[in-house]
Symmetry: D2
Subunit: 136 residues, 4 copies
């Protein structure tokens, strides 16, 4: 992983609407955060999504998983580190670590993405630019 992506951290803050009546972020919003973090990571890695698409590619989720050890509340900072965790021929995996204001990891995630062709042609090998970026 290059210096740029090693240092990449997605940053946002919890919106009021994302918090449920238990006072914590409702579970699904973590997938919203991961989506933003993935896009930001690819951009930091030199492969902006727009460039991927201009090359005729897109990515689709085939698997995701989340583990909660803690929770975020309204206004809390959201900090997400992203790490590539495996690259196949047509798919790759990103691991996510969510922190708030403190250093302890509150939520972890892992998502498997498959490369597809925008023209509806289905699965396609990961383009070289993306492969290089993920390999760092």
């Amino acid at each position: 992983m290059s210096a740029d992506t090693a240092g990449y951290e997605y940053r946002a803050a919890v919106r009021y609407l994302e918090v449920d009546q238990q006072g914590v972020v409702f579970n699904m919003w973590y997938l919203a955060y991961f989506d933003e973090a993935m896009t930001g990571f690819l951009e930091a890695a030199g492969v902006p999504y727009a460039v991927l698409q201009a090359g005729g590619h897109d990515v689709q989720l085939v698997h995701t998983e989340l583990d909660w050890r803690g929770a975020l509340g309204w206004g809390d900072p959201i900090r997400i580190r992203v790490r590539p965790e495996g690259i196949g021929r047509t798919s790759f995996t990103l691991a996510f670590e969510v922190r708030g204001a403190a250093e302890d990891v509150l939520v972890t995630g892992r998502t498997v993405y498959v490369c597809i062709r925008l023209d509806g042609g289905g699965k396609t090998p990961i383009p070289d630019s993306l492969r290089t970026a993920l390999a760092g």
Copy 2:
């Protein structure tokens, strides 16, 4: 308004995720409900959205307004009556009344939609099928 649409009532129930830490539906979700109620109303009026689109048309919001007198909580029934409130050459207005389990109106809304061409051609006269449906 025909008998079919006069009797139309959108029905759903408040999802847990739509409720904020005040214990009531967060304001933006009413626009989600109105969108569903609009689609259901058009279908009840004999002009399903898919038919509109097949005819090369779509609608866009240009104005909406909401007034709150009460609130809905988790699991509450959502019941919305829809009433056409004006038809121009390229735009029409729908009025919404939101009720929960009881008969009192909790929220009212009003949205102005403009007809556009799906091919990017911009504003276009309301197609006759839709005009007839709205006039009832």
Copy 3:
């Protein structure tokens, strides 16, 4: 699993706002659907959430995972079967199968819930009523 829950199927329809510019349901909304399906399943099993809470209990997610084989589009029916997949002392697992109009499974999920006390006392044994309901 009792006859009632064996026959339980959560039913809804995809909202327009849940569909992204690829024309398919954005991934996070499946967790919204699972939350609704879980609540409906518990109610069908004779343990409505309100009763759980009246007894001083609540549940929290500690793990969830999703696998996508297909996609849902705007207006598609959402049908979800729910099956208990393991009951521990303080936690239980539900498996989810998502179908659309056809019989093939489009998305599967699995969520581990832990029972907590509403008074902030942390993890607590699954109450008997819930244990019985899950064991069917």
Copy 4:
């Protein structure tokens, strides 16, 4: 309006999930943005929401309206200027102007908030700190 709030501009970027299959931000998300912009504005004005609540107060929406002249797409910058537009005894109005990358206003909004007591006591006069902040 003080120099601090006159210069206040809420900034974010459109999330992928907020964009619908027309390729533009779905209407309800503007109310999400306004909520964030309101909170940021109050903080810039020296009355953070947490301070309001610590003083036993909260605010509720009683009216909102939106007018669309343009649209935002995925990744577009969101820039919102907030301006107080009237202060009554128990309610106040904020006006919102949404811009993207360019200077033209794409969406305008106006929301009326009423001050309530957190203890369930209903409407209450706007606290002096908030009144001063809004008057600038």
